[in-house]
């Protein structure tokens, strides 16, 4: 929770704030973090957008149940978690035990990100930009092409005269190196061997 969340929700704001205006402030503060959580949890970006909308609407309806001593972002993720599991079920696939473990781990990771210094989500994940710039060209090139230029794996493979599998592996390896770099920089805690 940002430094202002607790003050706002505890009603200690110097001027009275309308509940809806206050909720909007919290939504704005936590929107990017929740979007990242949902995008990591759900592959389909349109579904992630829908789940974002649904999470926030439920949060508004249940705002009375929110425990003000807990971070607002974590509370939102708790709502989103249920919706993600329901989404998995509606996507005609069994909810595996590992799905729940992944969501738990993801929640812990986002909590670590939330605790980073910085007022905005961008500032909290600033280290990632530095990590990308430190990648070896072999990995940096497909990352730039895939994420910045939004090229498909197939297209990158053609441009770099290699196979799709090779590009997929390079992207995966690059992301792994980025996660290690974020751990090294203290954004993510070193991976716990216990789930």
């Amino acid at each position: 929770m940002s430094r202002d969340d607790a003050v706002l929700l505890a009603g200690q704001s110097p001027r009275p704030v309308e509940p809806l205006a206050l909720f909007e402030i919290l939504v704005r503060e936590n929107a990017d973090s929740l979007t990242a959580f949902l995008r990591a949890a759900v592959e389909d970006q349109a579904a992630a957008d829908d789940l974002f909308q649904e999470t926030m609407l439920i949060a508004w309806r249940k705002i009375g149940e929110y425990d003000r001593t807990r971070p607002f972002g974590a509370w939102l993720r708790g709502i989103a978690r249920h919706l993600v599991l329901a989404h998995y079920r509606s996507s005609a696939r069994q909810v595996a035990c590992s799905d729940e473990l992944i969501l738990d781990h993801l929640d812990r990771r986002m909590t670590q990100v939330d605790r980073q210094p910085g007022d905005t989500f961008d500032e909290k994940i600033q280290a990632l930009r530095d990590c990308v710039s430190r990648l070896a060209p072999l990995y940096q090139e497909p990352i730039e092409m895939h994420y910045r230029q939004q090229e498909t794996v197939e297209c990158i493979a053609k441009r770099l005269a290699t196979s799709k599998d090779a590009i997929q592996k390079r992207l995966q390896r690059a992301r792994q190196q980025l996660a290690e770099c974020l751990e090294h920089k203290g954004v993510l805690a070193a991976m716990d061997s216990k789930p």
Partner: protein, 309 residues
């Protein structure tokens, strides 16, 4: 020293989760419109909350109903039912016309503003019937238009003589490339003789922003109900512009579907558009294909010239 029990499954879960998380964070830091998307998401939430707190219907008829509630009739009007009915009809008529036209103009202004915002946009153009293109010259049908910041462009058309015909403007110099060879450069806009609607007789058609500003002056603009295009489920702002008179050169109508939050046009349709070099008027459809950033030098001729053999 006691060794922690090795738990390969947990490690797998951790690795898999971190891979997904880094993927999501990369999507965020590489989104050139992250700020805009952030505002859209929040605004959508706040609109939904606002909508659910009010009456269910928020359509144009809802606005009309609100207008009725807001009307304050003098006592003498209340005495005569017919007079009151006439007043309501008159007030509603005036309200609807004013509301519709001012909302439409505001929408058009937002669309113009959105095209002026920094960023790259790629549009695909369809011309119907395509056969109206001169057979020996590059046609408009299936061409691609790239815009940057509302003042740089590259139009790529297929050349019947082989290869592609490119016309561009990098903000300083306009240029033409045929079969990979730079054939003309000129300071300022205007090289190329692009066959576009005559509404753009004195400004390049590719300057969509100026085209739309001009439509504001010469067309009657109406705000239609929100609609979605066949290609998506997103509800879009829809405006229709009709030529004020036959003295005005340009398409008969211009229809625009734009993002209801940002005003960025998703589709623009010029009907009965007379394009240079084409013997008959036709329908031009311009669809937004992407807003992904293009290479830095994309709008310079150097980026498109064939490498010397």
């Amino acid at each position: 020293m006691t060794e922690e029990p090795h738990n390969p499954r947990a490690e797998d879960v951790g690795r898999q989760t971190d891979d997904r998380l880094v993927h999501a964070l990369l999507l965020h830091i590489h989104d050139p419109q992250a700020g805009e998307h952030h505002h859209q998401r929040v605004d959508r939430v706040m609109q939904s909350i606002g909508g659910s707190e009010q009456e269910p219907s928020q359509s144009a008829s809802g606005a009309t109903r609100r207008a009725i509630h807001q009307l304050q009739f003098p006592v003498w009007v209340r005495r005569g039912a017919w007079a009151a009915a006439a007043m309501i009809l008159l007030a509603l008529g005036i309200f609807t016309i004013n509301y519709s036209s001012s909302a439409a103009l505001a929408s058009l202004d937002e669309i113009v503003k959105s095209l002026g915002r920094p960023g790259d946009r790629t549009f695909r153009i369809r011309a119907e019937p395509p056969a109206a293109d001169p057979p020996d010259r590059p046609g408009l049908d299936q061409s691609t238009l790239y815009l940057r910041d509302g003042n740089q462009y590259v139009l790529v058309r297929s050349d019947p003589k082989g290869g592609e015909a490119l016309d561009g403007y990098d903000g300083r110099q306009s240029w033409r490339i045929r079969a990979g060879v730079l054939v003309e450069t000129k300071d300022g806009r205007g090289a190329g003789g692009i066959p576009m609607p005559q509404v753009m007789a004195d400004v390049p058609f590719v300057d969509l922003q100026q085209t739309l500003e001009r439509i504001r002056a010469d067309y009657v603009i109406e705000q239609c109900d929100q609609a979605s295009l066949q290609s998506g489920r997103e509800l879009l702002r829809h405006i229709l512009a009709r030529r004020k008179s036959h003295d005005v050169k340009g398409p008969e109508t211009v229809e625009i579907w734009a993002n209801s939050q940002t005003g960025m046009p998703r589709r623009i349709v010029f009907s009965e558009a007379q394009s240079q070099g084409s013997p008959q008027p036709r329908r031009l459809t311009i669809d937004l294909a992407s807003q992904a950033p293009l290479p830095v030098n994309w709008f310079t001729h150097g980026a498109h010239e064939a490498e010397p053999r």
